[in-house]
Each structure stands twice: as C-alpha cells, then as structure tokens.
C-alpha cells in the first residue's frame, strides 16, 4: 500500500519524476505545468534527484535537447502545455520518427487567441497525429501512476515510441486531491533500468541518426514508424496490469463504466470523466441505463475494443474539449463514429464540445446530455449532430 497524501496534480507528477530520476530533463516553464519543473529543480537542489536539468530558452529547444539526450542513450523527460507544445511541435514529430522514448507530461490547456491559460485539449489534439502514444488522465492518482507506466511502455524494445501523459490544466494540475504515493524503491524496481537500443555515445558501434530519405526511401520509414506505434496498445495493457499487480491499481486502454447493459453512453477523456461518472450513478439509481466510456489511450486509437465496448449501446454522445475547426465533428467523434461504422446494429453517435478554455462543466450539463440521448432513442430523431455545452447563444449548424 502506498502512503496517502494530499497534494496537487502537478506535485503528484513531480514526485513520479523524482522517483523515476531520469538522466535528462530539458524544460521551459509554462502555465499550468510550471510547478513541475520548479519542483524538480528543488528536488535536485535538495539532493533527492541527480537528473541533469537543462533550462533551455524555449520549448522548441526543450524538445530538441530531449531528442539529442535520448539519442545519446539517456532516459529523458520533459514537461509542457499549450503554446509551449505548439512551439515544440516541429520536434515532436522528429522525436517519434527517430523512435526516441521521451516521456512528456502535459497539463493540457487552451491555445491562444484569445489568451487563456485554462484546461482544454486544443494543445494535445494539435499533435495527435505526430506519432506519439497519448494517455489522458482523470485525476492526480492517474497522472502519478501513468507517468510511471509511460516509462515502461515507451522504452519497450518493440514500441520505442514517445508518450504524452496528459492531465487537464487547473482541473487536475492545480487541485489538491487525496492519492497514494508508492515507495521510491518499489517505483524504481517497477520501471527497471533502461538499455537504449542505439545510443549515440556507444563509440564501439558508430551510427547515424536523422539521415536524409528521398522519395524512394521515405515511405518505408514512415510505415516502419507506424508499425512501432501500433505495438503499443498491448504494452499499455500489459504495463497497466503489471502496475495493478504491483500497486493494486489496474489500468487498461480505457475504462468502461457501467457500459455492459447501457442504452446511453458518453465518451469522454480527462478530469470531466469523474464528474460524468457521478451523473451516471445518479441516473442508474433512477433506473436509467446510462454508461460511460473513459478513453485513456487516445493514440493509437483502439478501434476494435471500442466497437466491442459500444456496439450494443443505442445512442452515444462523444464529448470533446476542443474544436477541430472545419472538420465534420471533433476528434473523438470522428474516431468513435468511424469505428462504429462496421457494427451491424451501429449506435447513433452525436458530438458535443465542452469545457473550452476552462469553462466549467457541471453535473447538470452531463444530465442534460443523457436526457437528449434518451429522447433520441425514444423518437429516433437525431436533431443536431454537433452542439456546444454551456455556451451563451444558440448554436445552429
């Protein structure tokens, strides 16, 4: 059993990083994730870690330094959010293409403009196709646990793909919650030592990273990279199960909450999943067959498992915390609806956008979504495919 503590989500993550004690962290502070590199600097100053903390001049440099350190053979992490992730995005693609297992913590936040520092998934969705594994977390316990698991997932020889561990800015990063911190020794045992596959610093075996690939070569490299990414779901499952055996908290690629016999389901990621689960419980008490699918692994997207989990539901609402501007629906909607296309009795799927720039999404809002799903199931009339939760003014497509 771990030790019960009451600390903020950012502090929870910082403790996970302290226990992992990576070789190198290159980071540039940005709200709402700044507490993490600040805490790491304190841990180093207090002699609790011996990580090389590189204080770079921008997030572009942060990820660049991470790529160099990881290619050299180190265990490497970084932390960012919002504009910071956007600025580093050029190198985000390079990290995954070079198959460097860099674990990056993100306190997800809205992108400017207007300037906003609050929770939102716009930043992480911008890089959803960059070839990284993306794990969304609901609360402090999950961000702590997932940070530790991400090291094992990304460093697996068949996977060798970087991971983004994502919490909601402020909702999780800045709220004090009760969670269990495991012993340093046991965490270190769980993650084990890292043996890099192609360390640049091994002068006995000289190699080149990042060579040029003309049209006659490039396609094969991208297919090879994709193959690596697609080895990760089984590792996410296995590491989640092993973590459960070691520490008593199991993790999978998603959490199916009261879905088995559900007629109506919400699909959601991040901190709002907790609020929605309370609503599911309340509806169940009144005999409403409500359920919820909390996606943990959004990339790679586990389409087959989603089909199985949602195949028997009558009406599904996907709740996205981002606008995929001009697309036919938001990222979760697109994935879920596309996955369900092959299901014989496929459910109706509608799309909601919620919580942009930290807008509060309350139990009554989730209740209204389930009410709408019930109405659609009863009448068969869908109405709006896309709608917004808790905005002023009426949205007409």
């Amino acid at each position: 059993m771990g030790k019960k503590v009451a600390l903020m989500g950012n502090t929870a993550t910082a403790h996970a990083i302290r226990q992992i004690n990576p070789d190198v962290i290159a980071a540039y502070p940005i709200t709402p994730s700044s507490d993490i590199p600040m805490a790491v600097a304190s841990f180093i100053a207090d002699g609790l870690m011996d990580t090389e903390l590189v204080t770079v001049e921008s997030e572009h440099s942060a990820m660049s330094a991470c790529v160099g350190a990881s290619a050299a053979g180190g265990r490497v992490m970084t932390i960012t959010a919002a504009q910071g992730l956007a600025l580093m995005s050029e190198i985000v693609y390079i990290a995954s293409s070079l198959r460097l297992p860099i674990v990056t913590i993100i306190a997800a936040r809205a992108l400017s403009s207007p300037l906003n520092i609050h929770g939102d998934h716009s930043d992480v969705m911008e890089v959803r196709d960059a070839g990284w594994i993306q794990l969304f977390c609901e609360d402090s316990q999950e961000i702590y646990d997932s940070t530790i698991q991400a090291i094992k997932i990304s460093e697996n020889k068949n996977v060798l793909t970087p991971v983004m561990v994502i919490m909601d800015g402020f909702n999780t990063s800045h709220s004090v919650e009760i969670w269990e911190m495991e012993e340093d020794k046991r965490v270190k045992e769980f993650i084990g030592e890292y043996t890099p596959k192609y360390p640049l610093l091994d002068v006995s075996r000289k190699i080149t990273y990042g060579a040029w690939a003309p049209p006659a070569e490039y396609s094969e490299h991208k297919v090879s990279q994709l193959h690596g990414l697609l080895q990760s779901p089984s590792m996410v499952k296995k590491v989640g199960e092993d973590f459960g055996k070691a520490f008593g908290r199991n993790y999978g690629i998603f959490e199916a909450y009261k879905l088995d016999d559900a007629d109506y389901a919400i699909v959601i990621m991040g901190s709002a999943a907790g609020t929605a689960k309370d609503v599911v419980d309340a509806l169940r008490e009144n005999g409403v067959k409500a359920g919820l699918l909390k996606m943990r692994m959004f990339r790679p997207f586990p389409a087959d498992e989603v089909k199985e989990a949602l195949g028997n539901v009558k009406v599904v609402a996907t709740l996205d915390r981002v606008i995929s501007a001009g697309a036919y629906g938001s990222p979760l909607f697109n994935e879920i609806r596309s996955a369900l296309y092959d299901v014989p009795q496929r459910p109706i799927v509608i799309d909601y956008i919620y919580g942009l720039g930290g807008r509060d999404t309350q139990p009554k809002h989730f209740k209204a979504v389930y009410e709408n799903l019930k109405k659609i199931a009863k009448t068969g009339k869908v109405g709006k495919i896309l709608d917004f939760i808790n905005i002023r003014g009426k949205w007409e497509e």
Partner: protein
C-alpha cells in the same frame, strides 16, 4: 460525511492555501477524502478570489467548480455586494465571517438572516501572532471548532506537522501560526 466549503477572500489573504490546508489536515483521517481547488483568474493582490474544499467519506470524482456549500468562510466582509456569497448555499448553511463588528450588527449590515452566522476577529489575531493581517489560519481554527471536526490539541499537532513538512517556514513562524490557529478555535462565537 459530505461537506462542501467555499472560501471568499481577497488575493493575499491566504484563502487558497487554507482551502488546501483543510483538505490536507482532514485527509490524515482514514477513509476520508478531500479535494481543494480555486478559481484562477487574472487576480492580483487584493482582487476577489474564491476557493473550494470538498470533504467526503467517498472518493471525490466531481471535477466541476459547481458547489452547494454547507459552509461559507468570508475572509473580507467588504466583498459582500461585489460577489454573491449566498450563491447555491444550502438551507441553514453556516457562514463564518472575519470581522470586528458585533454579531447582530454584522447580520444586519450584510443581510445574513437565514444563515447560522459565526464571527471571529481574525485580522487582529493574525496581526498579534504573525505580525501581518493574513487571516487564513485563525479562520481555519474557527472552522474546525464550528464543525466540531477536531479538538484543539489534535488540530494544533496536525497543523504543526503539516507546516513543518513543507520545509518553507521558520520555527518562529510555525509557532505564530499555531497560536493563531488556537486563538481562532477559541475565540469564534
């Protein structure tokens, strides 16, 4: 147990810290869960702030900011009129106010009929014990007394351990804070 607590204060009065401290102290107890958070805006020292603490004997999953408070702590009475401290409050909610006024006068002045009102001169206590008018700790002491959640000695010990564990405060400051906490506990009426 399920208890919702909302803190109204001005930035710099320590409300966010106190909301966190409340969660940290209460969570020492086995089987008790807490969540503390604040609404972060563009506030500067002196601006109106709100902080929240949820306490429960079940794990707290609700991450929304919406709350129907059982207890409202008002660290600066001049906020009344600027913010609606009654918003969403449950019937018969308790309101603990930092004031030097008499209770009857305060109730009349702030129109607090319908609430169970408690008063404490937390500014004076914190000036006496810490040297600055940062009323969060005496208010925390008052809260624990009003809600009958800890006895004074238990609370003093837990708070002392909490302050020491941060490694941020001098012994003198910790002692001052514990005195302020105890006075808040004793003097709330």
């Amino acid at each position: 147990m399920k208890l919702n607590v909302r803190w109204h204060a001005r930035a710099g009065q320590g409300a966010v810290t106190a909301a966190h401290n409340l969660a940290e102290v209460i969570a020492q107890e086995k089987g008790v869960y807490a969540r503390a958070f604040a609404v972060y805006g563009a506030e500067k020292r002196g601006a109106a702030v709100m902080a929240f603490t949820r306490l429960s004997d079940h794990p707290i999953r609700d991450h929304s900011e919406y709350m129907e408070p059982d207890v409202v702590l008002l660290l600066d009475p001049t906020l009344v009129g600027l913010v609606n401290i009654a918003e969403g409050t449950k019937k018969g909610a308790r309101v603990i106010v930092n004031t030097s006024l008499k209770k009857e006068d305060l109730i009349k002045q702030l129109n607090l009929k319908g609430f169970k009102v408690y008063i404490l001169d937390a500014n004076r206590i914190s000036r006496d014990e810490i040297g600055r008018a940062i009323p969060n700790v005496p208010m925390l002491g008052a809260f624990f007394h009003v809600m009958n959640l800890r006895d004074k000695e238990e609370l003093s010990q837990e708070m002392k351990e909490l302050l020491e564990s941060t490694g941020k405060f001098s012994d003198k400051l910790i002692q001052g804070n514990i005195k302020a906490l105890r006075k808040g506990f004793e003097e709330v009426e």
